[in-house]
């Protein structure tokens, strides 16, 4: 780093901490802080905190962190500022399998556990296909096209299933599509935490290769980077994150695509040693913030998470891009 960014890091960490605390302490049911700190909680308050708010906070932190980091990696790998974790088609594969079990006549309609298992199966299938493509074809653009076409293909099957499904089945599927960080109890947290934590802990090993990749594959090769290994590692990382998040939270839109841009402009850098951890912190914060809004604290209502993400985020990104025109990722 050519200049100290301590102030930026301190601010990011502080914002994340505040949002995490708000996510635990703020909600429809008011739980006095004094009760929490003294441990003098009613059974209902204990259940709300430990089975709802705390798991939800952890899920938002990890999902946001993972999706933002995966989005960054995809944008650098494909040299495309519009790329996100969904370009591989992994989340579409998950959506397809959820559609099959929810909209098909299997009688397992809206069981969340069945949806999760289906989503994991769908995302694994697509991930294996994409890894095969990345191993087979040297040109990364081919992999991108295959991923995008898989998304279109799965969408078409989902539409077909929707056309013949019942109203309640369609409603269940749409509800899944809203996205939510609230679907996991504390005993299920481990199924999301482990894959995403492992992926995030492995992600720094991509930093050096991704930086070299900014000048192109030939440059990266000339600097001693094993580009094929890098591509496979990046795809595996993003696929695992996208698949895991989609399986347990539904298809979360926008976070993975927008957060890296916000982070680049905030830190004024394209160095992955800064913007990868920056995206992890930023993704967590943005996810928590959107989830807080979606919960509409103080009311009995809630709005879809995906709506909040895109509604809040798109204008922010447009504003930042226009304001920071000189600090674009690509010419």
């Amino acid at each position: 780093m050519t200049k100290s960014r301590f102030g930026f890091w301190a601010l990011s960490a502080t914002v994340l901490l505040v949002l995490m605390l708000m996510s635990v302490f703020v909600g429809t049911v008011h739980i006095p802080l004094s009760n929490i700190f003294s441990g003098n909680l009613s059974e209902l308050e204990r259940v709300i905190l430990w089975e709802s708010r705390f798991p939800r906070t952890i899920v938002a932190v990890l999902a946001g962190a993972g999706l933002a980091a995966a989005g960054l990696v995809m944008q650098t790998l494909f040299r495309n500022p519009l790329a996100g974790p969904s370009v591989l088609g992994v989340s579409s594969g998950a959506s397809l399998m959820v559609a099959v079990v929810t909209l098909g006549s299997f009688g397992l309609a809206s069981s969340p556990n069945v949806q999760m298992i289906a989503a994991i199966a769908g995302s694994l299938l697509v991930l294996l296909l994409i890894l095969w493509a990345a191993n087979r074809f040297a040109d990364i653009a081919t992999v991108l096209i295959i991923g995008l076409m898989l998304s279109f293909f799965t969408s078409s099957i989902v539409s077909l299933l929707q056309a013949f499904a019942s109203e309640s089945q369609i409603k269940a599927f749409i509800f899944w599509g809203f996205g939510s960080f609230a679907g996991l109890g504390s005993d299920q947290l481990i199924y999301l935490t482990v894959p995403i934590l492992v992926a995030l802990l492995a992600s720094p090993f991509l930093i050096k290769g991704l930086n070299s990749l900014l000048l192109g594959e030939m440059h990266a090769t000339s600097m001693g980077v094993n580009v094929k290994q890098l591509k496979l590692g990046a795809i595996l990382f993003s696929g695992v994150v996208a698949g895991t998040v989609t399986a347990f939270c539904g298809p979360i839109a926008f976070l993975g695509l927008a957060t890296p841009h916000i982070v680049r402009l905030f830190f004024k850098s394209n160095d992955h040693r800064i913007i990868l951890p920056g995206s992890i912190l930023g993704g967590s914060s943005i996810a928590l913030f959107c989830d807080l809004i979606a919960r509409l604290p103080g009311t009995d209502m809630a709005i879809p998470l995906n709506s909040v993400c895109a509604f809040m985020g798109a204008p922010v990104v447009i504003y930042l891009i226009l304001k920071g025109r000189k600090s674009r990722m690509l010419i």
Binding site: T2, R79, P204, F205, I207, K208, N211, S212, L214, L215, G216, M218, H219, T221, S222, M223, G224, V225, N226, R264, K268, S269, N270, D271, R273, K326, S327, R328, M329, L330, I331
Partner: protein
């Protein structure tokens, strides 16, 4: 000390029956500036990619410092030879000093963190190449010539004894092109580097390079400018466009 040697290199384009380059052999060592010239499509860029280890030849062997390229690990190669190709993507969102620091990546650890000694090399490079005024500029605000200088500085920061450049003066105006070639000549004469560059600027190549490698129609010739200018291969290459190359100043004029 450094050297680069090509032994019987064959290069073919897919779908073409005849080799683009046939049994090409030459060697270059420290204190030598070699210019590769030839028509578009003659195989200059392919040859430079083969010499840089970025493309496998269809036949033959490349040696760096007497060692076959295949026996040199990928992580060691950037410390021996630096290269600059026109296909390298133009980046944005960083200052020139940070882009130059990319040249130190082969010397960094697993996460790519630069040590203070690496930054010293970066700053020394900036002052040696006289680009201090550009160091803190955002790279997207640099002109083509300035960006080219920064990319050259990135190569320089690699501290490799061999440099391979593919058409480094493309799209540059004449004064900037001359200044660039002078910098290559300085690298060779003052810092004992081996520098190979391809160019379409024949007067520049013949006036500054110690050796010329001309490629035309699968044939090649390697020699001093004075020797190459008189060769049948050069005459064949130039006759096609009806220009005459003047031997003493290495300048050209159209045929009357």
């Amino acid at each position: 000390m450094s050297s680069i040697e090509a032994q019987h290199i064959d290069i073919t384009y897919p779908g073409r029956e005849r080799n683009l380059i046939r049994a090409l052999s030459f060697s270059a060592s420290s204190n030598e500036l070699i210019a590769v010239v030839g028509a578009n499509g003659s195989g200059k860029s392919s040859l430079l990619r083969v010499l840089a280890g970025l493309q496998d030849p269809n036949g033959g062997v490349v040696k760096w410092n007497g060692v076959q390229l295949a026996d040199i690990p990928g992580t060691t190669r950037p410390k021996l030879a630096a290269n600059l190709f026109s296909s390298y993507q133009r980046v944005a969102g960083m200052i020139a000093r940070d882009l130059i620091a990319f040249g130190r990546q082969p010397y960094t650890g697993i996460f790519g963190k630069l040590k203070s000694s690496d930054w010293q090399v970066v700053d020394q490079t900036i002052s040696q190449l006289g680009i201090s005024s550009l160091a803190n500029a955002m790279v997207e605000n640099l002109s083509d010539g300035e960006y080219r200088k920064v990319m050259f500085a990135r190569m320089w920061a690699q501290e490799a004894d061999t440099m391979i450049l593919d058409e480094p003066m493309a799209h540059l105006d004449m004064p900037t092109s001359v200044a660039f070639v002078r910098q290559l000549a300085t690298a060779v004469e003052q810092y004992q580097k081996t520098v190979i560059f391809s160019t379409h600027d024949m007067p520049l190549a013949f006036n500054f390079a110690h050796q010329i490698l001309v490629i035309d129609g699968g044939d090649h010739l390697y020699g001093t400018p004075e020797m190459v200018i008189k060769s049948d291969l050069m005459h064949r290459f130039l006759d096609k466009s009806g220009i005459e190359f003047e031997g003493r100043s290495f300048n050209y004029k159209p045929d009357p």
